[in-house]
Symmetry: C2
Subunit: 189 residues, 2 copies
DNA sequence: ATTTCAAACTAACAATTGTTAGTTTAACAT
DNA sequence: ATGTTAAACTAACAATTGTTAGTTTGAAAT
């Protein structure tokens, strides 16, 4: 079976539509049509349009939070931690290309869970910042502005959902390595 | 005077709202309220909601196209061209923080001008790719996957609109240099 | 004083929105 | 056969959407 439950099917179908046009531009009738049913029938499985968005975003945000916890408490070097973070983003994104679009573009349409999401995101950024700052202190990383490093790295990782799908025939493991090397060593010869 | 024309004021006000909630979630009444007038009054100055979005996005896309033309036909080194492209993005973004949000997130809601926009974007990407490939050929850049370099660099540059506004007290010139160095040399010591 | 005109207004429209209520269908267990 | 249940349906709702038509305002030009 492709989906665990009918609700799960609704969520995944919605994520596909949300990626194309954004949460606000997708109607319940759009979602229903994509599933071959009527809009009212969706409400046998979900409570609101909002709930669909929350399920997509929060479950992904929690996956990142969970994995970050493991990485930050490991005793690997900072460079190794950063490599693991690259792998984390590539991994989650390649398995959730559509959901990641909502996470990145439609989080502001969360309502009840907006504060929770923002907290998770803030904590994640702080954890990544700490790893970078420690890397500079311990002479693993170049002594540049950590905010710029944080911004550049996160921008690339957060945009993966746009690019990974375009490179269908991609070896994920190899791509992860290439991207890690690039972020760490730059493009200069 | 802060605005050239009333139409210009509508466009810039709309861009602020579009950045917060996205094009689809902003209503003509929202825009009108932000200007202290009624929704119907907007139509004395603009023809449709669509038109507002087009004006925001297309003018920016054309600025990028125009400047890229100058850069690509110069006889600077590839590294220098890439530095100029970083400066181009930082420059346009710092002057158009709100419009850049629409360019990056709401281009799919263009209708009549969608094809034109996609052509401009494709050409821009191709120009940047050519610079990178030439840089590799001429041993200026490391011999890595040019697609990954293109993706990483563009992701960072396209996300500037999210980050620049958070660093209000930022020296633009210095930031441009830091970012160039980072993208070129990486974070490794 | 009168005319002109940009730019606001009120009122309304047809379509679309998320959602609810109540009903039907059809597969399964008793 | 009967009852149960998940999951679909039809019909409708109140609110909101972008937009239009026609009118009023008020300052500048004549």
């Amino acid at each position: 079976m492709k989906y665990e439950t009918r609700k799960d099917e609704i969520i995944q179908t919605s994520a596909i539509l949300f990626k194309k046009k954004g949460y606000s531009a997708v109607t319940m009738r759009d979602i229903a049509k994509a599933m071959g049913i009527k809009a009212a029938s969706l409400y046998n499985h979900i409570n609101s349009k909002q709930e669909i968005l929350s399920e997509i975003i929060i479950s992904l945000a929690e996956q990142f939070t969970e994995q970050m916890k493991i990485i930050k408490y490991s005793d690997d070097s900072c460079i190794d931690k950063l490599k693991q973070i690259v792998a984390l983003h590539v991994g989650i994104t390649s398995n959730n290309q559509f959901g990641m679009a909502s996470l990145n573009s439609d989080w502001m349409h969360l309502e009840a869970e907006l504060d929770y999401y923002l907290t998770l995101r803030k904590n994640y950024e702080n954890d990544l910042r700490s790893i970078i700052v420690k890397g500079i202190q311990e002479d693993e990383l170049v002594d540049a502005n950590p905010e710029v490093m944080l911004f550049s790295m996160l921008s690339t990782l957060r945009s993966l959902y746009i690019w990974l799908p375009k490179k269908e025939d991609l070896d994920i493991q190899q791509f992860t390595n290439e991207l890690s090397l690039l972020l760490i060593n730059g493009i200069n010869k």
